[in-house]
């Protein structure tokens, strides 16, 4: 207990720019999450629509794809991609990465990390979207057909807007999971919060590598990094809950019975669907 709270072990936090170093790393996590989320949403929507296609081979292929990627561990995908992505792609990114991206996101393995995150999360989101669309009352579709709307128009004006709105809370939940998952890219040496934390613990207090005098014990550093995530994710979860309540009020559905059902939500948040 003494070790946990001793002032000596927390001194690093206000020494030099240690805390800033960690916060900058954390910012990278958030950026990766944002980028991956946008891409996963786009790709996920495409997959969802494909998996609802009237053409059987297309539907089966899409569902198969989604099933495979939902059932593989994300770290597995990331490591595989890091070890096997062809040079042309890695090089291409290295050379053409947009300049506005921070240094940490222009490295060669960044693509492997982001691609892994997108492949996995798009499959999860596709499933969420599919459930959202299917959860719509049949009556909606039938009414739309009765009104003479074409399939495309039905989708665009009736089904998708409602179905997608249903899945917003679940998607925000997935964003929280995604946030946590961005820490996995530390394993392929991308300079985000966890990796920065590890480097800090190794170098702080070690004059040989220019780390100054104050050591940064790993317990405290990781607690700090953990707190960053807990605070931001907690905020996101409050947003999700507010959205859920609003949606429930709007569609006269009991809160807690959103896409997948109340208890099912937890499964979603566990990163399961």
């Amino acid at each position: 207990m003494g070790y946990l709270f001793s002032a000596d072990n927390w001194e690093w936090l206000w020494t030099e720019n240690n805390a800033r170093y960690l916060l900058e790393g954390f910012l990278i996590n958030l950026e990766i999450a944002a980028i991956a989320m946008v891409l996963a949403l786009a790709f996920g929507l495409a997959l969802a629509l494909l998996s609802l296609s009237a053409l059987t081979p297309v539907r089966l292929a899409a569902k198969g794809w989604v099933d495979v990627f939902r059932n593989l561990p994300l770290i597995f995908l990331i490591l595989y991609l890091a070890l096997s992505l062809p040079e042309s792609i890695k090089q291409g990114w290295q050379e053409n990465a947009p300049g506005f991206l921070p240094e940490a996101l222009r490295g060669q393995l960044v693509l492997a990390g982001i691609l892994g995150l997108v492949l996995y999360n798009s499959a999860v989101i596709a499933e969420i979207m599919r459930a959202g669309i299917l959860s719509l009352d049949r009556g909606q579709r039938e009414a739309a057909t009765a009104l003479g709307l074409s399939y495309r128009d039905q989708m665009r004006h009736v089904i998708l807007p409602q179905g997608l709105r249903r899945m917003v809370p679940a998607t925000v939940s997935q964003l929280i999971t995604l946030n946590k998952d961005t820490t996995l890219v530390s394993i392929i040496a991308i300079q985000e919060a966890v990796r920065s934390g590890r480097i800090l613990t190794q170098t702080a207090g070690n004059p040989f590598v220019g780390g100054g005098d104050v050591q940064a014990p790993i317990l405290q550093v990781m607690i700090f990094v953990g707190l960053l995530f807990v605070v931001v994710n907690y905020a996101l979860s409050r947003v999700s809950r507010r959205l859920e309540v609003r949606e429930a009020r709007r569609s006269a559905v009991r809160p807690g019975v959103s896409v997948g059902g109340g208890a099912g939500d937890e499964a979603l948040r566990a990163g399961a669907t």
Binding site: L72, I75, F76, L83, K180, V225, V230, A270, A272
Partner: protein
């Protein structure tokens, strides 16, 4: 493709076995802890609810990798002689238990009020109501989400292996085989098969449980 499997079967098998043990032990812990925390959350006491709430919020929002560092490297540096297996199982178990707790809590609130009121009017104490009436029904409702949580946990177990706990799980063994054979796709393919075997088993188990204990409405 197949010779990678046959020549390195031992490595894959031992990795598969390590992952299985890790997952099984962690799930037990997750269920036990999750039930305790869920009970806290629905208990009549204010501080119990807050405590349970805090537990759930912390462990649902904390990345597993960070938890692993804290529970292994962090604790060891603080003088606690925790080993990698213990740290791995504890971390994965505690992490998953937060989700189990929330799933159970949702399940409990789904049990109709009428049930609770009937039990109380029959003279059950609140604790007895919880134990004999509410929880058993809640368990049945939550079998499907528990199944999903189990599958998520199987996937998360790979994080334990990739962390500095250095447990030789299935993913780690895939990398070992890869470094021996330089055949990345083949090595990872067979590991993927292993993971899918596990998730498939979990799916089958939970579907069976679901149909056996289906909530009759």
């Amino acid at each position: 493709m197949f010779d990678v499997l046959t020549e390195h079967f031992d490595e894959f098998a031992s990795g598969f076995w390590v992952t299985t043990r890790l997952v099984a032990a962690s799930f037990v812990i997750a269920l036990v802890l999750g039930t305790v925390v869920a009970a806290l959350r629905v208990a009549p006491s204010r501080w119990a609810q807050r405590l349970g709430g805090l537990y759930v919020e912390v462990f649902r929002n904390l990345p597993l990798l960070v938890l692993l560092f804290i529970s292994f490297a962090g604790l060891r540096r603080a003088g606690v002689g925790i080993g990698p297996w213990t740290a791995g199982i504890a971390s994965l178990g505690i992490y998953t238990s937060a989700y189990v707790a929330e799933a159970l809590r949702s399940g409990v609130s789904a049990v109709s009020r009428g049930q609770r009121e009937a039990a109380l009017s029959l003279g059950f104490t609140p604790l007895q109501t919880l134990r004999e009436v509410v929880l058993p029904q809640a368990f049945r409702t939550v079998i499907p989400p528990l199944g999903s949580i189990a599958i998520a946990m199987i996937k998360n177990s790979a994080i334990v292996g990739a962390s500095l706990l250095a447990l030789p799980d299935l993913l780690k063994q895939a990398r070992v085989v890869n470094s021996n054979t330089f055949q990345t796709t083949e090595s990872f393919f067979w590991a993927a098969v292993g993971y899918m075997l596990l998730t498939l088993t979990a799916t089958v188990v939970f579907r069976t449980l679901e149909s056996r204990y289906a909530v009759r409405r």
